[in-house]
């Protein structure tokens, strides 16, 4: 334990002194309660950054310099620091791990920790938590996968939670953890309202689409949840920006796809294929023309599939465009495949 000022000094805590402090105990209870003097019933809000307890009604700072439960302030990612000044170690992730407070002996640093042959004297760095090892591994894998497609923290957290629930349930124990992790990632994206296609998840995972699909259905059954159906609009912004199409074309494509589904021109077609065909039609009518192959590459759809869906929407092309669309190529000059 290093020297230095302790994080909190007993004298500064208001409730330990019973002199004229601002907080007062109303009754002779065993635990002194911190209250705002003006609003004794208000529940105090903790401001962890400054270590204050603040009354939400009047804003009075009631407790001062209480214990900071965040991470160690002095943790720097400083390569030059050979000795880590951190006194408390890494942040805990109590929701996801066992939440145990086990400690372990770390690698020695001085010369005395090595015996004659250069091996370290104390060698027990083995299992810190064997039960959670697979789960931690999976979390690492999830973070890696999500990083590849730049998914935000909230999706990663949701995925971790889903994985934890599935793992604890043990009903899918025989399945590969990576497959379950990929399926959880897929479900989390869906649940957050920003679905990714199975092919996009396949691209960042080593598991096949078939296996991810199987695990997906099993997880939905095990957790007894369901997800919303995908729509064409969910993918428009991503596909269009990956293709470099301007906003006008993206909005036109969204409108086309929605109208096509409403008019039931494409019954039974996957929404991804319809979206791809709509993007093709919109881009061909604008100045930024994209080929079917390029769109197929981005969307993960075969170009014959785009051709098929395009053939279905082509006859009604004039009705599908939004009314305020500026045509670079008029509707009758659209390519007919």
């Amino acid at each position: 334990m290093g020297s230095g000022r302790p994080l909190c000094s007993p004298e500064s805590l208001p409730w330990t002194t019973d002199s004229n402090s601002m907080a007062s105990t109303s009754r002779g209870d065993s635990l002194p309660k911190v209250q705002c003097p003006n609003h004794p019933d208000a529940i105090l809000v903790e401001d962890y950054r400054a270590g204050d307890m603040i009354c939400p009604e009047c804003g009075l700072v009631v407790g001062d310099r209480v214990i900071d439960v965040g991470s160690e302030w002095r943790t720097f990612t400083n390569e030059k620091a050979t000795k880590d000044p951190s006194r408390v170690g890494d942040t805990q992730n109590p929701l996801l791990n066992g939440g145990d407070l086990t400690t372990m002996i770390s690698k020695g640093t001085g010369a005395a920790s090595f015996d004659e042959f250069g091996n370290s004297k104390y060698q027990n760095r083995r299992t810190m938590s064997s039960s959670d090892r697979a789960m931690l591994n999976a979390f690492k894998e999830i973070t890696t996968m999500a990083d590849r497609i730049n998914l935000p923290r909230n999706i990663i957290d949701r995925t971790n939670n889903l994985f934890k629930q599935v793992y604890e349930q043990k009903s899918l124990k025989g399945r590969s953890n990576d497959a379950i992790a990929s399926a959880c990632l897929y479900i989390a994206c869906r649940q957050e309202g920003v679905p990714r296609t199975f092919k996009e998840i396949c691209a960042v995972s080593r598991i096949s689409k078939k296996e991810i699909g199987r695990c997906f259905k099993l997880i939905l059954k095990a957790l007894e949840t369901s997800v919303d159906l995908i729509t064409t609009g969910d993918f428009m912004s991503r596909f269009c920006s990956n293709l470099g199409l301007p906003k006008q074309v993206q909005m036109a494509a969204t409108y086309i796809a929605r109208k096509a589904v409403e008019l039931d021109l494409v019954p039974g077609r996957s929404p991804i294929s319809v979206a791809a065909a709509a993007i093709y039609m919109a881009s061909q009518a604008s100045a930024e023309k994209k080929t079917q192959k390029e769109i197929g590459d981005i969307a993960g759809v075969a170009d014959v599939t785009i051709r098929q869906s395009y053939r279905l929407i082509y006859p009604r092309a004039a009705d599908l465009f939004p009314p305020d669309f500026k045509f670079d190529t008029p509707v009758d000059k659209l390519p007919q495949l």
């Binding site: 009903s171 199975f198 995908i230 929404p271």
Partner: protein, 288 residues
């Protein structure tokens, strides 16, 4: 018929305190009293949510005592289906109507056709697959790929997998009788090759039927209202997979109106499942 009057209290073990996400017995377990929506009911617009909530609430309150009005007497009107003996014999006058005329639940008039029957039989003796493959006609045997002889006959056009333990699987028949006949023919072939084949434990394991409701179906609507039974993932499969609980049948429902039913052990289950799903599909008919 006391199913509609009071829901008998079921064991508390089924109550899930939190509702949806707890593991353990799913809400639609076979122990639930009949008529809690396990048999799919035709949705009557606003009550659809309350039906699902009713099922959710069953997990929490042990028998609410409310009788949901949706359970009108959907007693299976047993019209004489081919292959079934009628349950009622005609009473005194042949003019009296036998089945209660409930106009809301007329039978669909469509009968699913059986497409495939899978059955197993035990020939009762160990077999030498090599000799069978060499001597029988229309037999293939590739032990590196699969450990059974694959034999085909033309008359009921079927395929059999014959294993060295003496057990045999017969697939491809279009009716129960044909499946049994085909299995007997295979057993005869094996017997003629010199093995003391018997015909023990013939059992039909799976029956597949298909039919057409002749109108397009809104699968998105169906998956919204029957979430616990349906799975519709256009990325994975273009049809909706409906897992019916009451006859335990899986139905593949397509946009075109074609329906495939599978998982039945007896013909009546297929017919019953189709009669159950038909009014629901009618409710999701595409109007344009």
């Amino acid at each position: 018929m006391e199913q509609n009057n009071s829901l008998p209290p079921f064991p508390q073990g089924l109550a899930s305190p939190q509702g949806a996400m707890t593991p353990g017995l799913p809400i639609f377990s076979p122990m639930m009293p009949y008529g809690t929506g396990l048999t799919p009911q035709p949705v009557q617009n606003t009550n659809s949510l309350s039906l699902l909530e009713e099922q959710q609430r069953h997990g929490m309150v042990g028998g609410s005592g409310q009788t949901p009005q949706l359970y009108h007497s959907q007693v299976s009107t047993t019209t004489a289906l081919p292959g079934n003996t009628p349950l009622y014999t005609t009473p005194l006058t042949p003019m009296t109507p036998i089945t209660p005329a409930t106009p809301a639940s007329e039978s669909s008039g469509i009968v699913p056709q059986l497409q495939n029957i899978v059955s197993t039989v035990n020939l009762g003796c160990k077999l030498d697959l090599k000799t069978i493959a060499l001597r029988a006609r229309n037999a293939e045997y590739n032990p590196k790929r699969f450990a059974a002889v694959i034999m085909r006959i033309r008359e009921p056009r079927t395929t059999a997998l014959i294993f060295s333990s003496g057990k045999m699987v017969c697939t491809g028949a279009k009716s129960e009788e044909q499946s049994r006949l085909a299995a007997r023919k295979y057993a005869r072939v094996v017997q003629k090759l010199g093995f003391p084949a018997k015909f023990l434990d013939f059992k039909i394991q799976n029956m597949v039927g298909s039919c057409d409701v002749k109108f397009p179906i809104r699968l998105e609507g169906l998956v919204l209202t029957h979430q616990q039974f349906s799975s519709y993932e256009p990325e994975l499969f273009p049809g909706l997979i409906y897992r019916m609980i009451k006859p335990r049948i899986v139905l593949l429902i397509f946009v075109s109106g074609k329906v495939v039913l599978t998982g039945a052990k007896v013909r009546g289950e297929i017919y019953e499942a189709f009669e159950n799903i038909y009014p629901i599909l009618k409710g999701f008919r595409k109007t344009t």
